[in-house]
Structures are given as structure tokens and as C-alpha cells.
Symmetry: C2
DNA sequence: CCTTGCCTTGACGCCGACGTCAGGGCCTAA
DNA sequence: TTAGGCCCTGACGTCGGCGTCAAGGCAAGG
């Protein structure tokens, strides 16, 4: 499978796949002409990468998950290294949620204050 | 008041104040030597700006609040233009909270799954 | 042979709120 | 006079996940 086909099957672009490779997430072999060659398993890996990115992980955080998948595990998050990253990210998310909730409350309060002035 | 003093009183840097000016949020007068001169009221304005930035507003979003304050209102958010921005930002925050909560749930599920495997 | 369409590497652009030099002027105290 | 400390403008660096253009090679159909 060439890069264009994998990109389409994964719902992304060749540029994106080269970017993942550049950052050590995937290691395709090469054809005689220099073209990248991917086997079917890489589709699963790319999906894992994209899911994690969508969940806010950084590229470096994702490496353990990919390694875990390649080691033959059923999912990328069942390895100890992955678990550490998961816990770190969960703590981050908890923090963001707390701060965002505060902001949300302030915004609501200010909007409520305006409505009160509308009907004095 | 020179830029350094205002910066210190506002808990920020001269560079930051110049940045705000560059983006039309403050308009200090100039001394004969070209130095920026701020009156005491600007401290209040800068605090408003920093609070809004901390709440995730962009520089452009903040302009109505500053204008509202300068118009003599007790707070920057009591004007109609500010209210529109407030509603937009609240909708954004609601969206972020929803997505982050989903992520949080997925992360918890994955961590739970690992613990279950620890004690088979 | 030529066009078309895939592939390659390299490198700049984006966004936003500044940090951080670089190079130079103003003012004051010793 | 000079050293230090403030001020000025201008401009590049930061972070991340790519988009996008540039310049060129490889393969296949007409």
C-alpha cells in the first residue's frame, strides 16, 4: 500500500503520514523506487494515532501507545508506559475542566447581571 | 506613570503593554521625549484586559469591554457589544467542556480497563 | 513521446500572546 | 564625564500539527 492509499483509508493526507514518520510514530519500508510501502496493520496504528491526537495527546505522548500496539497487544493503552501517559493526561484534563468550569460560571454570572439590568 | 511602573503595578511586562497598544486596546499619551505616559485609570483597564485574556478571550474580543469601561460604565461587560462577545465565548466554553468531558470519560475507562487486567 | 498522476525531499506559513535580543536615545547621580 | 537604568522601535523566536508550494523523479496509457 502506497502513502496515498493509506492516507485515504485513514481519512487523512500523505503530508500527515510523513509527519508521523518524521516524529518516529511509523516506519514504512521502501520500494525499489523509493516509494513508502505500508502493510495493512499500519491502518490500525494510524487510527490509534489520530484518536489520541483528537483526545489532546501530543506526538511524543503517543509513542508508547504505538509501541504497545506493535508489541501485539489488543489495544495501545494496556501497557505500563501508556498508562503513565494516560494518568498524566487525565490529570491535565481534570485541570482544564476545573478552570473552564470556573470561566463558564463567571461568564454566566456576567450575562445574568446584564439581564437584571435590562428589567430594573 | 511610565510604562515600567504600570507594568509592575499590573503584574506584567512593558512588552505586554506595548502589545496591547499595538492591538488597539490602550492609547497612552507621549511625553516630550517620546515616553509613553499612562494615567491611573489605565491600571483598571489593564486588569480588565488580563482577566479577559485569562478567561480565554482573544485580543479582538476584548475591545468592546475596554470601550465599555472607557465610556464610564462600572464594568466592561454591561454593554450590548460586550454581551454578544460573552454569549459567543460562553457557547465556545460549553463546547470545550462537552468535548473535554468525553475525553475525560474515555481516559477513565481506559485506566479502569488496565486495573481490571492487573487483578485477573 | 507526451501527458497525467502518483511519489520524493525541503522548506516556509499558520495562529496568538507575548519573550527576547539588537541597536540606540534620555536622564540622573557620582 | 561616565556608568547605570529607564525608555524607544523593529524584528525574530516560541509551540504543534499539519497545509501548501517548489522542483523534480517514476510509471503507465494514448
Amino acid at each position: 500500500m502506497l502513502i496515498g492509499e493509506l492516507a485515504e483509508r485513514a481519512g487523512t493526507s500523505p503530508r500527515t503520514l510523513r509527519y508521523y514518520e518524521e516524529h518516529g510514530l511509523i516506519h514504512p519500508s521502501r520500494d525499489a523506487n523509493g516509494y513508502r510501502q505500508y502493510d495493512d496493520g499500519e491502518l490500525r496504528v494510524v487510527h490509534e494515532i489520530r484518536t489520541l491526537l483528537a483526545d489532546g495527546f501530543g506526538v511524543d505522548d503517543i509513542k508508547p501507545f504505538v509501541a504497545c500496539l506493535r508489541a501485539g497487544n489488543s489495544a495501545g493503552h494496556v501497557c505500563p508506559d501508556s498508562a503513565m501517559v494516560l494518568r498524566r493526561r487525565l490529570a491535565e484534563v481534570d485541570g482544564y475542566l476545573a478552570r473552564l468550569t470556573e470561566v463558564q460560571q463567571r461568564l454566566r454570572d456576567q450575562l445574568k447581571e446584564i439581564k437584571c439590568q435590562m428589567t430594573p
